[in-house]
Amino acid sequence: MAKNDVKLLGAWPSPYVLRARVALNIKSVKYEFLEETMAPKSELLLQSNPVYKKIPVLIHGDKPICESQVIVQYIDEAWTSGPSILPSDPCDRAIHRFWAVYLDETWFPTMKSLLVVQAEERKPLMDQLSEGIVLLEEAFGKCSKGKAFFGGDGIGFLDIVFGCFLGWLRVSEKITGLKLLDEAKTPKLVKWAESFCADAAVKGIMPETDKLLEFARVLAAKRREAPPKN
């Protein structure tokens, strides 16, 4: 398939965009990465995602696919040669999807709040995150069945959904001085994080923590100058 058959609209700091890139790498799909500045948003972005106007957007041929978890599942189903991303058993698939929903609707929003609240408001959020990470450690034990990833021998859906946030997770740890992944409390996840970041599909595209930290600082400064808008 010609390289320009697959385009990905994205931006380097976005963990959601990273999900799509990891999935495409797992399937060895060649694609054109179109970096969005987001201010202003490109015509192509506005046309291909008129509902949300957000990245990532995968454009396959002339068909746009939006929402990172939808994109990853699309990639898994559209390119059938190469390793599977979702597990084959419906029960296992449901478990991956359940934790993916938990991460995107509960855990990550709390982690993102951590980056914007005042220092004195952090403790209750950290407590919630710590409780959540213990659940994820247990889930890892059950899903991996002794192997390196939630998906078993290779990176699977839940690895992608969770793993692509590791850069921002480390930024949160640096900013707050508090550990989310801890050798003592979450030894399996600590090991998993190393394996994920070292994987061929991830290495080279996972943004460096220091670059993300700088990006977060610039963003925070901009927020302080301008009134927050949604």
């Binding site: 396959h60 599942q73 699309y74 029960c91 359940f98 929903v101």
Partner: protein, 221 residues
């Protein structure tokens, strides 16, 4: 070998309703357990310790959680009626709209009827915007799934049924027949489907319940 399928839910919840619709479309025999959310059963707490919420589908002792996840599980486990289409792009499209309905439509519908007074006007406007988006997405199709009810239609029970019930219970107008003719036709077709009709809770009881729960004093959650 017998197969055991149990659904924990609450009558009146559109999230529970979706699962019943899907199970009936697939012809799956199941046992329904109605949960009192003020007094959750030990079984529910065992099967969903993280969120302690309904619906929960238990298949041969294994729990499946989160309504959209359950719908996909049902489609993958039982053959027969297809809930999701086969084509990957159409599947992605269905998943996108299912998520849109859950994230953008239902919260706005709920808030416009039962939210804090100062939030309601803004929510009514939001409902108008999101319903128009769905109107445009429906295009010339009978259902969001095409000729037949599919994932998006099932998820859209919040529009096909809950919306009308909330409008009546809260005495708020959200559906404008002139502005949303296709959506109104879709609602008629949706409510005519026999499997859907069988899965809907009794309307009057639900209206009475909603008025009692949300209109006596402040809306408490």
């Amino acid at each position: 070998m017998g197969e055991e399928v149990v659904l924990f839910g609450t009558r009146g919840s559109p999230y529970t309703c979706r699962i019943e619709i899907a199970l009936k479309l697939k012809g799956v025999q199941y046992k329904y357990i109605d949960e009192d959310l003020a007094n959750k059963s030990p079984s529910l707490l065992k099967y969903n310790p993280v969120h302690k919420k309904v619906p929960v589908l238990v298949h041969n002792g294994k729990p499946v959680l989160e309504s959209l996840v359950i719908l996909e599980y049902i489609d993958e486990t039982w053959q027969g009626y297809p809930i999701l289409p086969e084509d990957p792009y159409e599947r992605a499209t269905a998943r996108f709209w299912a998520k849109f309905i859950d994230e953008k439509c239902f919260p706005a519908i709920f808030k416009s009827c039962w939210g804090e007074e100062k939030e309601r006007e803004k929510a009514v406007e939001e409902v108008s915007v999101v319903l128009k988006i769905l109107e445009d997405e429906l295009k010339e199709k009978k259902f969001f799934g095409g000729e037949n009810v599919g994932l998006v239609d099932i998820v859209a029970v919040v529009i096909g049924f809950s919306l009308g019930v909330y409008e009546e219970a809260a005495r708020v107008e959200l559906l404008n027949k002139e502005k949303l003719p296709r959506l109104c036709n879709w609602i008629d077709d949706f409510l005519s489907n026999s499997f859907i009709k069988e899965s809907l809770p009794p309307r009057d009881k639900l209206i009475a319940y909603l008025r009692n729960r949300f209109r006596s004093g402040n809306a408490s959650k």
